[in-house]
């Protein structure tokens, strides 16, 4: 079975690093299972597969990893929103993670940074636009997460289960892309 982390990291079957990964076989298969459940689900529920892949492409762009961007662009396929996703990913970017602590002694460590606000003119359905804004929050400044941010999703029509799946998707990609970056470096030194 193909393994997406190995593919993103450029690890060949049977290589030294592939053998290292097989020492943690349950983690390997469960990570791949997560990828399939989130990006190619048998039952998409109220989070359509096309929107899942748009969010994934956007998240890959935010991470700035060329391999992940190519992979998720290919998974998205021909999509009229692809150009818009690229444009939005180039806005409101700064080195992450930034954000604010609850007011107290750690406030001295607060780092200001932009929140993403996608204008209606960008042409996304409101439900997708709010999901992309939430993905930007989770990827780059999770410290700023708030009930208000979740309320924006609910107001746009997201169900609680949809919010859970969206959060898992962005969170999983934050793992998968980093695992691939780490293994790629290990394979080259």
């Amino acid at each position: 079975m193909s393994d997406t982390i190995n593919r993103l990291a450029g690890i060949a079957p049977g290589s030294h690093l592939d053998q290292l990964r097989n020492r943690r076989a349950q983690a390997k298969t469960s990570a791949e299972e997560s990828f399939t459940l989130l990006l190619s689900p048998a039952d998409e529920g109220d989070f359509p597969v096309a929107d899942r892949r748009r969010v994934a492409f956007f998240v890959a762009l935010l991470h700035g990893d060329a391999e992940a961007v190519s992979f998720y662009e290919a998974l998205l396929g021909e999509d009229p929103l692809a150009g818009g996703l690229r444009n939005e990913a180039e806005r409101a970017v700064a080195p992450g993670p930034w954000g604010r602590y609850p007011v107290g002694p750690l406030s001295a460590e607060d780092i200001q940074g932009p929140a993403l606000a996608i204008p209606d003119a960008a042409g996304f359905e409101p439900k997708l636009a709010r999901a992309l804004e939430h993905a930007h929050l989770l990827v780059l400044h999770p410290r700023d997460a708030s009930p208000r941010a979740l309320q924006a999703l609910l107001d746009a029509g997201w169900s609680t289960t949809g919010v859970v799946t969206l959060s898992q998707l962005v969170a999983f990609l934050s793992f998968q892309i980093r695992a691939a970056i780490g293994l790629r470096a290990l394979s080259r030194v």
Partner: protein, 202 residues
């Protein structure tokens, strides 16, 4: 009436890093235990987690939760060789500190301090942040976990060489990469669907 998040106006959210046991409250309703079926219990992996508001909320997508949890358990608890438990927990603590997750840092700082028997080093990391220096090997682990946590990632050949210079073998480095990467998954859930509550009395 519009659907609304759960607010906890009386909660005094912790404002400092600590190794004390914190609580956590969700901003959306967990799945009520009465509505759990076999599918949901399978997703929890450990049945007792139905009592946890965090896992019971994530159980609304049970298959994804199950895959997440099996990934987590193998990365952190499979002790068939590889990186010592203490340093996997050190990586988790580093990611939590850098992403400002006061709740997760409290849990994994406790584990790291326990396994390493070095609570003062863990406390120094919590107090001073990821630039704090403790010992050459721990410094290399913290630096690598922090570099991989930044977006865009700052992890590359320098981190690998620094880890090898302090004696880490490739299987240990692979475990470290997965521990740090997994915690970037965990943070984005724990921080975004609820918030911590103060240590329980006693």
């Amino acid at each position: 009436m519009p659907d609304a998040v759960l607010t906890h106006p009386d909660n005094a959210e912790p404002v400092e890093f600590t190794r004390a046991e914190l609580g956590w409250v969700p901003w959306r309703a967990p799945l009520p235990e009465a509505e759990f079926t076999k599918r949901h219990y399978d997703g929890l992996v450990d049945r007792g987690r139905a009592k946890s508001p965090y896992f019971a909320l994530l159980a609304r997508d049970p298959e994804v939760l199950g895959a997440r949890t099996r990934t987590d358990k193998d990365i952190f608890y499979n002790t068939d060789g590889g990186l010592p438990r203490a340093e996997r927990e050190l990586a988790a603590t580093t990611v939590s500190r850098l992403n400002s997750c006061i709740f997760c840092a409290s849990v994994h700082a406790r584990f790291a301090a326990h396994h390493a028997k070095a609570p003062e080093d863990v406390d120094a990391l919590l107090a001073g942040g990821v630039a704090t220096r403790t010992s050459p090997r721990w410094d290399a682990v913290v630096d690598a976990a922090a570099a991989l946590t930044r977006t865009p990632s700052a992890f590359g050949p320098d981190e690998i060489r620094a880890l090898r210079a302090t004696g880490l073998a490739d299987d240990e480095i692979a475990d470290l990469i997965f521990a740090a990467a997994f915690f970037n998954w965990a943070k984005r859930l724990k921080l975004s669907i609820g918030k911590p509550t103060p240590p329980t009395a006693g």
